[in-house]
Symmetry: C2
Subunit: 180 residues, 2 copies
Amino acid sequence: MTDQEREPAATGAAAPSGPPEPAADGTAPQGRDETAELRAQLAQSDERYRRAVADYDNLRKRMARDVHQEREDERTRVAARWLPVLDNLELALQHATAEPASIISGLEAVREQALAVLADLGYPLRADLNEPFDPSRHEAVAALPATDAAPGTILQVVRPGYGTDERPLRPAAVVVAKGA
Amino acid sequence: MTDQEREPAATGAAAPSGPPEPAADGTAPQGRDETAELRAQLAQSDERYRRAVADYDNLRKRMARDVHQEREDERTRVAARWLPVLDNLELALQHATAEPASIISGLEAVREQALAVLADLGYPLRADLNEPFDPSRHEAVAALPATDAAPGTILQVVRPGYGTDERPLRPAAVVVAKGA
Protein backbone atom coordinates (compact mmCIF):
# COMPACT_ATOMS: atom_id res chain seq x y z
CA MET A 1 0.00 0.00 0.00
CA THR A 2 1.20 3.44 -0.78
CA ASP A 3 1.53 6.00 1.87
CA GLN A 4 3.56 8.67 0.29
CA GLU A 5 5.24 11.62 1.90
CA ARG A 6 3.85 15.05 1.14
CA GLU A 7 5.21 18.50 1.13
CA PRO A 8 3.18 20.84 3.31
CA ALA A 9 0.53 22.67 1.28
CA ALA A 10 1.72 26.09 2.36
CA THR A 11 5.15 25.84 0.74
CA GLY A 12 3.78 26.32 -2.77
CA ALA A 13 7.23 25.71 -4.21
CA ALA A 14 7.29 25.98 -7.99
CA ALA A 15 9.43 23.47 -9.85
CA PRO A 16 12.70 25.15 -10.73
CA SER A 17 13.40 25.05 -14.43
CA GLY A 18 16.86 26.61 -14.49
CA PRO A 19 20.09 24.80 -15.29
CA PRO A 20 21.27 21.97 -12.99
CA GLU A 21 23.33 23.00 -10.01
CA PRO A 22 26.17 20.83 -8.74
CA ALA A 23 25.43 18.63 -5.76
CA ALA A 24 27.25 19.29 -2.48
CA ASP A 25 28.21 15.66 -2.04
CA GLY A 26 28.36 12.56 -4.25
CA THR A 27 25.83 10.06 -2.92
CA ALA A 28 24.87 8.82 -6.32
CA PRO A 29 23.11 5.51 -5.36
CA GLN A 30 20.96 7.29 -2.80
CA GLY A 31 20.02 10.01 -5.30
CA ARG A 32 19.26 7.44 -7.98
CA ASP A 33 16.82 5.52 -5.87
CA GLU A 34 15.21 8.67 -4.59
CA THR A 35 14.69 9.86 -8.15
CA ALA A 36 12.89 6.67 -9.12
CA GLU A 37 10.68 6.84 -6.09
CA LEU A 38 9.90 10.50 -6.67
CA ARG A 39 9.01 9.80 -10.28
CA ALA A 40 6.61 7.10 -9.19
CA GLN A 41 5.07 9.38 -6.62
CA LEU A 42 4.76 12.18 -9.15
CA ALA A 43 3.05 9.90 -11.66
CA GLN A 44 0.68 8.80 -8.93
CA SER A 45 -0.05 12.33 -7.81
CA ASP A 46 -0.68 13.47 -11.38
CA GLU A 47 -3.00 10.55 -11.96
CA ARG A 48 -4.85 11.29 -8.76
CA TYR A 49 -5.22 14.91 -9.84
CA ARG A 50 -6.56 13.87 -13.24
CA ARG A 51 -9.13 11.66 -11.57
CA ALA A 52 -10.18 14.48 -9.24
CA VAL A 53 -10.67 16.78 -12.23
CA ALA A 54 -12.73 14.13 -14.01
CA ASP A 55 -14.79 13.60 -10.85
CA TYR A 56 -15.42 17.32 -10.64
CA ASP A 57 -16.58 17.43 -14.21
CA ASN A 58 -18.87 14.45 -13.78
CA LEU A 59 -20.34 15.91 -10.62
CA ARG A 60 -20.99 19.20 -12.38
CA LYS A 61 -22.80 17.47 -15.25
CA ARG A 62 -24.74 15.17 -12.98
CA MET A 63 -25.88 17.96 -10.70
CA ALA A 64 -26.91 20.14 -13.62
CA ARG A 65 -29.17 17.27 -14.64
CA ASP A 66 -30.36 16.89 -11.05
CA VAL A 67 -31.27 20.56 -10.81
CA HIS A 68 -33.24 20.32 -14.04
CA GLN A 69 -34.97 17.14 -12.92
CA GLU A 70 -35.74 18.56 -9.51
CA ARG A 71 -37.36 21.58 -11.09
CA GLU A 72 -39.44 19.41 -13.42
CA ASP A 73 -40.49 17.17 -10.55
CA GLU A 74 -41.51 20.11 -8.40
CA ARG A 75 -43.51 21.59 -11.24
CA THR A 76 -45.33 18.30 -11.67
CA ARG A 77 -45.97 17.96 -7.94
CA VAL A 78 -47.36 21.46 -7.57
CA ALA A 79 -49.45 21.32 -10.76
CA ALA A 80 -50.93 17.99 -9.68
CA ARG A 81 -52.08 19.53 -6.41
CA TRP A 82 -54.47 21.74 -8.35
CA LEU A 83 -56.20 18.99 -10.27
CA PRO A 84 -58.72 18.15 -7.51
CA VAL A 85 -59.65 21.83 -7.35
CA LEU A 86 -60.24 21.86 -11.09
CA ASP A 87 -62.19 18.59 -10.86
CA ASN A 88 -64.49 20.10 -8.27
CA LEU A 89 -64.92 23.27 -10.26
CA GLU A 90 -66.07 21.11 -13.15
CA LEU A 91 -68.41 19.11 -10.95
CA ALA A 92 -69.89 22.34 -9.60
CA LEU A 93 -70.46 23.52 -13.16
CA GLN A 94 -72.14 20.24 -14.10
CA HIS A 95 -74.42 20.47 -11.10
CA ALA A 96 -75.13 24.11 -11.78
CA THR A 97 -76.91 23.27 -15.01
CA ALA A 98 -79.17 20.78 -13.27
CA GLU A 99 -79.51 22.64 -10.02
CA PRO A 100 -78.47 26.31 -10.26
CA ALA A 101 -79.14 27.09 -6.60
CA SER A 102 -76.40 24.73 -5.42
CA ILE A 103 -73.61 26.40 -7.34
CA ILE A 104 -72.66 29.07 -4.85
CA SER A 105 -72.09 26.70 -1.95
CA GLY A 106 -70.29 24.33 -4.33
CA LEU A 107 -67.96 27.08 -5.45
CA GLU A 108 -67.36 28.30 -1.92
CA ALA A 109 -66.12 24.79 -1.26
CA VAL A 110 -63.86 24.94 -4.35
CA ARG A 111 -62.47 28.23 -3.11
CA GLU A 112 -61.75 26.75 0.33
CA GLN A 113 -60.04 23.82 -1.35
CA ALA A 114 -57.85 26.13 -3.43
CA LEU A 115 -56.87 28.08 -0.30
CA ALA A 116 -56.00 24.81 1.44
CA VAL A 117 -53.74 23.80 -1.47
CA LEU A 118 -51.95 27.15 -1.31
CA ALA A 119 -51.57 26.96 2.47
CA ASP A 120 -50.26 23.43 2.18
CA LEU A 121 -47.66 24.56 -0.35
CA GLY A 122 -46.52 27.12 2.22
CA TYR A 123 -48.53 30.12 0.99
CA PRO A 124 -51.47 30.75 3.32
CA LEU A 125 -53.97 33.50 2.65
CA ARG A 126 -52.97 36.50 4.72
CA ALA A 127 -55.49 38.24 6.96
CA ASP A 128 -54.69 41.88 6.29
CA LEU A 129 -57.98 43.65 6.99
CA ASN A 130 -57.72 46.18 9.85
CA GLU A 131 -53.98 45.54 10.15
CA PRO A 132 -51.52 48.45 10.00
CA PHE A 133 -50.12 49.03 6.52
CA ASP A 134 -46.69 47.43 5.99
CA PRO A 135 -44.98 48.29 2.69
CA SER A 136 -43.06 45.02 2.78
CA ARG A 137 -46.25 42.98 2.43
CA HIS A 138 -48.92 45.38 1.20
CA GLU A 139 -49.45 47.43 -1.92
CA ALA A 140 -51.56 50.52 -1.33
CA VAL A 141 -53.89 51.08 -4.28
CA ALA A 142 -55.86 53.89 -2.64
CA ALA A 143 -56.04 56.01 0.51
CA LEU A 144 -59.37 57.06 1.92
CA PRO A 145 -60.31 59.27 4.86
CA ALA A 146 -61.57 57.25 7.80
CA THR A 147 -63.07 58.50 11.01
CA ASP A 148 -63.10 55.22 12.88
CA ALA A 149 -59.64 53.90 12.00
CA ALA A 150 -56.09 55.07 12.78
CA PRO A 151 -54.18 56.49 9.79
CA GLY A 152 -52.41 53.68 7.92
CA THR A 153 -54.98 51.07 8.88
CA ILE A 154 -56.05 48.75 6.07
CA LEU A 155 -59.69 49.51 5.33
CA GLN A 156 -60.21 47.09 2.46
CA VAL A 157 -58.33 44.22 0.82
CA VAL A 158 -58.83 44.62 -2.92
CA ARG A 159 -56.77 41.56 -3.85
CA PRO A 160 -55.65 39.21 -1.10
CA GLY A 161 -52.01 38.49 -0.31
CA TYR A 162 -50.53 35.02 0.07
CA GLY A 163 -47.47 33.55 1.73
CA THR A 164 -45.48 34.27 4.86
CA ASP A 165 -42.85 36.84 5.77
CA GLU A 166 -40.17 34.26 4.96
CA ARG A 167 -41.81 33.00 1.80
CA PRO A 168 -44.03 35.72 0.36
CA LEU A 169 -46.02 34.75 -2.72
CA ARG A 170 -47.93 37.94 -3.47
CA PRO A 171 -48.49 41.16 -1.52
CA ALA A 172 -52.05 42.17 -0.80
CA ALA A 173 -53.45 45.15 -2.71
CA VAL A 174 -55.15 47.31 -0.09
CA VAL A 175 -56.97 50.55 0.62
CA VAL A 176 -55.49 52.39 3.62
CA ALA A 177 -56.89 55.02 5.96
CA LYS A 178 -55.58 58.51 5.25
CA GLY A 179 -54.17 60.70 7.99
CA ALA A 180 -56.50 63.48 9.13
CA MET B 1 0.73 21.16 8.14
CA THR B 2 -1.43 18.27 7.15
CA ASP B 3 0.05 15.22 5.60
CA GLN B 4 -2.93 12.94 5.68
CA GLU B 5 -3.67 12.20 2.05
CA ARG B 6 -3.93 8.54 1.12
CA GLU B 7 -4.11 6.89 -2.23
CA PRO B 8 -7.30 4.79 -2.64
CA ALA B 9 -6.55 1.13 -2.00
CA ALA B 10 -7.75 0.00 -5.42
CA THR B 11 -5.29 1.99 -7.48
CA GLY B 12 -2.13 0.53 -8.89
CA ALA B 13 1.38 1.96 -9.12
CA ALA B 14 2.51 1.77 -5.52
CA ALA B 15 5.53 3.83 -4.60
CA PRO B 16 8.40 1.48 -3.78
CA SER B 17 9.43 1.67 -0.17
CA GLY B 18 12.21 -0.93 -0.07
CA PRO B 19 15.88 -0.26 0.64
CA PRO B 20 17.88 1.89 -1.81
CA GLU B 21 19.42 0.08 -4.75
CA PRO B 22 22.87 0.99 -6.03
CA ALA B 23 22.98 3.33 -9.01
CA ALA B 24 24.43 2.09 -12.29
CA ASP B 25 26.47 5.17 -12.81
CA GLY B 26 27.79 8.00 -10.68
CA THR B 27 26.20 11.19 -12.03
CA ALA B 28 25.73 12.71 -8.64
CA PRO B 29 25.15 16.38 -9.56
CA GLN B 30 22.60 15.40 -12.21
CA GLY B 31 20.72 13.10 -9.77
CA ARG B 32 20.84 15.70 -7.04
CA ASP B 33 19.29 18.36 -9.22
CA GLU B 34 16.71 15.98 -10.64
CA THR B 35 15.66 15.05 -7.13
CA ALA B 36 15.12 18.67 -6.17
CA GLU B 37 13.11 19.30 -9.29
CA LEU B 38 11.03 16.17 -8.84
CA ARG B 39 10.33 17.14 -5.24
CA ALA B 40 9.14 20.53 -6.39
CA GLN B 41 6.96 19.00 -9.11
CA LEU B 42 5.52 16.53 -6.64
CA ALA B 43 4.70 19.30 -4.19
CA GLN B 44 3.00 21.17 -7.01
CA SER B 45 1.05 18.16 -8.17
CA ASP B 46 -0.05 17.35 -4.65
CA GLU B 47 -1.13 20.92 -4.09
CA ARG B 48 -3.05 20.88 -7.35
CA TYR B 49 -4.76 17.68 -6.28
CA ARG B 50 -5.70 19.14 -2.90
CA ARG B 51 -7.23 22.14 -4.60
CA ALA B 52 -9.19 19.90 -6.96
CA VAL B 53 -10.57 17.94 -4.00
CA ALA B 54 -11.54 21.17 -2.24
CA ASP B 55 -13.19 22.41 -5.45
CA TYR B 56 -15.16 19.19 -5.70
CA ASP B 57 -16.36 19.54 -2.16
CA ASN B 58 -17.38 23.15 -2.63
CA LEU B 59 -19.20 22.31 -5.85
CA ARG B 60 -21.08 19.52 -4.13
CA LYS B 61 -22.20 21.80 -1.31
CA ARG B 62 -23.08 24.66 -3.61
CA MET B 63 -25.11 22.48 -5.93
CA ALA B 64 -27.00 20.88 -3.07
CA ARG B 65 -28.05 24.39 -2.09
CA ASP B 66 -28.88 25.19 -5.71
CA VAL B 67 -31.11 22.14 -6.02
CA HIS B 68 -33.00 23.13 -2.90
CA GLN B 69 -33.34 26.74 -4.06
CA GLU B 70 -34.40 25.67 -7.53
CA ARG B 71 -37.15 23.52 -6.05
CA GLU B 72 -38.37 26.36 -3.83
CA ASP B 73 -38.33 28.79 -6.72
CA GLU B 74 -40.24 26.44 -8.96
CA ARG B 75 -42.85 25.87 -6.28
CA THR B 76 -43.31 29.62 -5.93
CA ARG B 77 -43.49 30.12 -9.70
CA VAL B 78 -46.09 27.41 -10.20
CA ALA B 79 -48.18 28.38 -7.18
CA ALA B 80 -48.18 32.02 -8.32
CA ARG B 81 -49.60 30.97 -11.68
CA TRP B 82 -52.79 29.88 -9.97
CA LEU B 83 -53.47 33.12 -8.15
CA PRO B 84 -55.26 34.81 -11.07
CA VAL B 85 -57.51 31.76 -11.36
CA LEU B 86 -58.35 32.01 -7.68
CA ASP B 87 -58.88 35.77 -8.01
CA ASN B 88 -61.37 35.22 -10.80
CA LEU B 89 -63.13 32.48 -8.90
CA GLU B 90 -63.58 34.95 -6.06
CA LEU B 91 -64.80 37.67 -8.40
CA ALA B 92 -67.29 35.24 -9.91
CA LEU B 93 -68.56 34.41 -6.43
CA GLN B 94 -68.91 38.08 -5.56
CA HIS B 95 -70.85 38.73 -8.75
CA ALA B 96 -72.98 35.64 -8.17
CA THR B 97 -74.54 37.17 -5.11
CA ALA B 98 -75.55 40.30 -6.98
CA GLU B 99 -76.33 38.64 -10.28
CA PRO B 100 -76.77 34.86 -10.00
CA ALA B 101 -77.41 34.33 -13.70
CA SER B 102 -73.91 35.45 -14.63
CA ILE B 103 -72.13 32.88 -12.53
CA ILE B 104 -72.08 30.01 -14.98
CA SER B 105 -70.43 31.96 -17.78
CA GLY B 106 -68.03 33.47 -15.24
CA LEU B 107 -67.05 30.05 -13.98
CA GLU B 108 -66.67 28.64 -17.47
CA ALA B 109 -64.13 31.41 -17.97
CA VAL B 110 -62.34 30.45 -14.73
CA ARG B 111 -62.22 26.85 -15.90
CA GLU B 112 -60.76 27.89 -19.27
CA GLN B 113 -58.18 29.98 -17.42
CA ALA B 114 -57.20 27.04 -15.20
CA LEU B 115 -56.81 24.83 -18.28
CA ALA B 116 -54.63 27.49 -19.90
CA VAL B 117 -52.39 27.60 -16.81
CA LEU B 118 -52.00 23.82 -16.89
CA ALA B 119 -51.30 23.79 -20.63
CA ASP B 120 -48.76 26.54 -20.19
CA LEU B 121 -46.99 24.55 -17.49
CA GLY B 122 -46.73 21.71 -20.00
CA TYR B 123 -49.81 19.73 -18.97
CA PRO B 124 -52.59 20.25 -21.51
CA LEU B 125 -56.00 18.66 -21.07
CA ARG B 126 -56.05 15.45 -23.12
CA ALA B 127 -58.85 14.79 -25.55
CA ASP B 128 -59.55 11.12 -24.89
CA LEU B 129 -63.21 10.73 -25.84
CA ASN B 130 -63.70 8.25 -28.70
CA GLU B 131 -59.99 7.42 -28.70
CA PRO B 132 -58.84 3.80 -28.42
CA PHE B 133 -58.05 2.80 -24.84
CA ASP B 134 -54.32 2.96 -24.03
CA PRO B 135 -53.34 1.58 -20.62
CA SER B 136 -50.31 3.87 -20.50
CA ARG B 137 -52.50 6.97 -20.35
CA HIS B 138 -55.98 5.80 -19.40
CA GLU B 139 -57.50 4.15 -16.35
CA ALA B 140 -60.58 2.08 -17.15
CA VAL B 141 -63.16 2.52 -14.41
CA ALA B 142 -65.92 0.63 -16.24
CA ALA B 143 -66.63 -1.30 -19.43
CA LEU B 144 -70.02 -1.03 -21.11
CA PRO B 145 -71.48 -2.77 -24.16
CA ALA B 146 -71.63 -0.48 -27.16
CA THR B 147 -73.23 -1.11 -30.50
CA ASP B 148 -71.88 1.91 -32.33
CA ALA B 149 -68.24 1.83 -31.13
CA ALA B 150 -65.37 -0.61 -31.64
CA PRO B 151 -64.39 -2.59 -28.54
CA GLY B 152 -61.83 -0.66 -26.51
CA THR B 153 -63.12 2.73 -27.62
CA ILE B 154 -63.43 5.31 -24.87
CA LEU B 155 -67.14 6.00 -24.42
CA GLN B 156 -66.92 8.47 -21.56
CA VAL B 157 -64.22 10.44 -19.73
CA VAL B 158 -65.13 10.32 -16.05
CA ARG B 159 -62.14 12.39 -14.92
CA PRO B 160 -60.00 14.09 -17.55
CA GLY B 161 -56.31 13.35 -18.05
CA TYR B 162 -53.60 15.99 -18.27
CA GLY B 163 -50.10 16.13 -19.69
CA THR B 164 -48.30 14.68 -22.67
CA ASP B 165 -46.82 11.28 -23.42
CA GLU B 166 -43.41 12.64 -22.38
CA ARG B 167 -44.68 14.49 -19.32
CA PRO B 168 -47.86 12.87 -18.09
CA LEU B 169 -49.55 14.55 -15.15
CA ARG B 170 -52.58 12.35 -14.60
CA PRO B 171 -54.18 9.57 -16.60
CA ALA B 172 -57.80 9.98 -17.61
CA ALA B 173 -60.38 7.79 -15.85
CA VAL B 174 -62.55 6.40 -18.62
CA VAL B 175 -65.40 4.08 -19.53
CA VAL B 176 -64.50 1.77 -22.42
CA ALA B 177 -66.61 -0.16 -24.92
CA LYS B 178 -66.80 -3.87 -24.14
CA GLY B 179 -66.11 -6.51 -26.78
CA ALA B 180 -69.22 -8.23 -28.16
